[in-house]
């Protein structure tokens, strides 16, 4: 068995009277692709926000690579090795594609804060090479000078992935990476995610699209009403009647 990278134990979160998360336990193993599925309002996004420091859970613990993540700010969590892809791509819209990947590469090199107000950004050879490699890998090289705002959503998603991967994260969180995409863009994204799976980055994916989940995941956790109701391989989940009832509505997959 491979080792545990991320461990969520007994995490609960209330918003007023609403129990968004109720004693969630989850364990993500190094090198795996772990999908979290569930109907709307099941608490998937809340859970993700607990991992990146946007929301602080009321109870429970979140341990990443041996250290607790609770109480840390988003940038500290990123520096610890967790990169995140958002539901709507969060990119630097006014800047060029190349600059967009140079920035996270700098974050990896310089840490959270370091002023270098004299040396030219473009003359940082290591950072530039890293950016060039990743753009090449994700087929963005041709568009390197394009201003990001003018790109399609699918391309922005690809860029956002490049921005995460250039940091060589230990864990990549993907919040519905194909939400709102056309079928073609979705398929491209799935292919891309399969391709980057070869890099061995551990991933946690939140997804609605079953086709995406079952073609990518090693392990699936099903959430409903703030708690994990089932967990297993994609085949097991497909076969589980409980899941079918709770989430898939009895429909056959």
């Amino acid at each position: 068995m491979s080792t545990e990278l991320l461990s969520i134990k007994g995490v609960s979160k209330r918003f007023g009277g609403l129990r968004a998360l109720d004693d969630v336990n989850l364990s993500v193993e190094k090198g795996s692709v772990h999908a979290i599925i569930g109907p709307n309002g099941a608490g998937k996004s809340t859970l993700l926000n607990c991992l990146v420091g946007r929301i602080i859970p009321d109870e429970g613990s979140v341990t990443f690579d041996g250290d607790s993540l609770l109480g840390h700010k988003p940038h500290q969590i990123n520096q610890a090795g967790i990169a995140r892809v958002f539901q709507t791509p969060e990119v630097f819209g006014d800047l060029s594609v190349f600059e967009n990947v140079m920035i996270p590469a700098c974050a990896k090199r310089d840490g959270a804060f370091r002023i270098n107000a004299w040396g030219r950004a473009r003359e940082r050879r290591v950072v530039r090479e890293e950016a060039e490699h990743i753009l090449d890998d994700l087929n963005l090289w041709q568009q390197r000078d394009q201003i990001v705002n003018s790109m399609s959503r699918g391309d922005k998603r690809r860029l956002e992935l490049a921005m995460c991967l250039v940091q060589h994260p230990k864990l990549l969180l993907l919040d519905e990476p194909t939400a709102g995409m056309s079928r073609a863009d979705t398929n491209n994204t799935v292919d891309l995610l399969k391709k980057i799976a070869e890099r061995g980055v551990t991933k946690v994916i939140i997804e609605h699209d079953m086709h995406v989940v079952f073609s990518l995941a090693d392990k699936v956790s099903v959430m409903a009403q703030g708690t994990v109701i089932a967990e297993g391989t994609p085949e097991e989940i497909k076969a589980s009647e409980r899941v079918q009832e709770a989430y898939l509505g009895g429909a056959h997959l």
Binding site: H75, I103, I115, W141, R144, D145
Partner: protein, 411 residues
């Protein structure tokens, strides 16, 4: 991988070490504007320096070829350059930068009183005071962003203004303003026998009045411009632009954004301190009115007028505004009557009646109109106008460049 044209070393600023292991296209040759080659940077600075130093010649025909106004161009150019590092690069709109300008003036005058009439000492102290003051105000104001940040800076600046008139009177000399007097100690001057004869700021014996005063300010403006250029092209500059573009992504990319913003705030405060100090060099008298909110608003207008986030824009905006102020505020009815002399008497009176509210005391009405026109038709300021004309010119000649290259402009 179809790309990768190994055009190894065509760019002189680039010759750093061996080429990448894989044959990726080796450089960010396509990196736009603010990552342009260092050769073009030097060219830009050289052209800028030449333009500034020859201002007395080429601005003479429009009646601005005299040292007083040119010095103002230079000083407010520095102020706006620094302001643009905060507002233009990182997107944080401060409405309180006059506080640092005023603090710089007071600091400089105090140096004139206590230590020496040497302008360099006074300016160094003015920069430090501007920076420290900005550190304090910025530290608190940057807890918020957007409009709340602007309001906080405005509040602090107004507080400073009022304090200068009340509690801090021992330091600021209240409404009279802080002045240099003959009885001031001037310890260093006394020690080294450098007699500050008339209480005029000097640079190693050269009195900084008239033309020497202008050239002194001009050299500092060129240095400030060069520094701004370096900052814009640096990693730090890239981070500021990234914060402006998407601060949320910045946080999730592993950056603590607030220290970056505070650094930008302090740097721009130091520019303001320098500008304030230079104002004191021109005229060794510091008054609290320099800290008033109208002065803070003025630098915002200058920056927007010239082009937010561009390199040259703030300098141009500052010069245009100071020029208009000079021209229009000096007009009076007599001048107007002479201007419309060629018209028949009735029409002449009518024209004078219409235009007189826009000149003299009311010159700000003209400024307001100009500002409205620029914001509506040229949201990118004068620099955008220049760029549009340049690109039209280029396409008119059948030139290739489809993207308007931001020559000195950047973003």
């Amino acid at each position: 991988m179809s790309q990768s044209v190994m055009t190894s070393q065509e760019n002189p600023g680039e010759g750093m070490g061996e080429s990448p292991a894989e044959s990726h296209a080796p450089r960010g040759d396509g990196m736009r504007g603010f990552l342009a080659s260092s050769r073009s940077d030097w060219l830009l600075v050289a052209v800028f320096a030449a333009a500034i130093l020859t201002m007395p010649i080429w601005l003479a025909p429009i009646g601005a070829g005299y040292p007083d106004i040119l010095q103002k161009f230079a000083i407010f150019g520095i102020f706006a350059l620094g302001f643009n590092i905060l507002f233009g690069f990182s997107g944080y709109l401060s409405f309180g930068h006059a506080a640092f300008l005023g603090a710089g003036s007071y600091a400089a005058v105090w140096m004139f009183k206590l230590l020496s009439m040497n302008a360099l000492i006074a300016l160094a102290f003015a920069i430090v005071v501007g920076g420290v003051f900005a550190l304090l105000i910025g530290f608190v104001s940057l807890r918020r962003s957007g409009i709340y940040f602007s309001i906080l800076t405005l509040a602090f600046a107004q507080m400073s203004y009022n304090l200068a008139y009340s509690v801090l009177t021992p330091i600021t000399n209240g409404e009279t303003g802080l002045q240099v007097t003959i009885s001031d100690p001037r310890v260093l001057d006394a020690m080294f026998g450098g007699v500050a004869r008339r209480g005029v700021p000097e640079l190693f014996g050269m009195e900084l009045q008239g033309w020497p005063g202008f050239y002194f300010s001009a050299v500092l403006l060129i240095l400030a411009f060069f520094l701004t250029l370096r900052i814009r092209n640096s990693t730090f500059g890239l981070m500021l632009f990234a914060i402006k573009s998407n601060q949320n992504r910045m946080n999730y990319t592993g950056f603590a954004t607030r220290p970056y913003l505070l650094a930008a705030f302090v740097i721009s405060g130091m520019y303001a301190g320098l500008a304030g100090g230079l104002l004191a060099v021109t005229d060794p008298l510091a008054g609290a009115d320099r800290m008033q909110w109208t002065a803070s608003g003025e630098v915002v207008l200058m920056t927007i007028l010239g082009g937010v986030g561009t390199l040259l824009g703030p300098v141009i905006g500052a010069a245009v505004m100071k020029y208009l102020e000079q021209i229009f505020s000096s007009f009076n009815e007599g001048v107007l009557h002479r201007t419309f002399d060629f018209l028949p008497t009735g029409l002449q009176d009518f024209m004078v009646a219409i235009t007189s509210p826009f000149v003299g005391e009311g010159w700000q009405l003209t400024l307001g109109l100009l500002f409205m026109i620029v914001v509506i038709f040229l949201p990118g300021g004068i620099m955008e106008g220049v760029r549009r004309i340049a690109s039209r010119f280029r396409s008119g000649r059948g030139g290739a460049s489809p993207t308007p290259a931001p020559a000195g402009g950047g973003h």
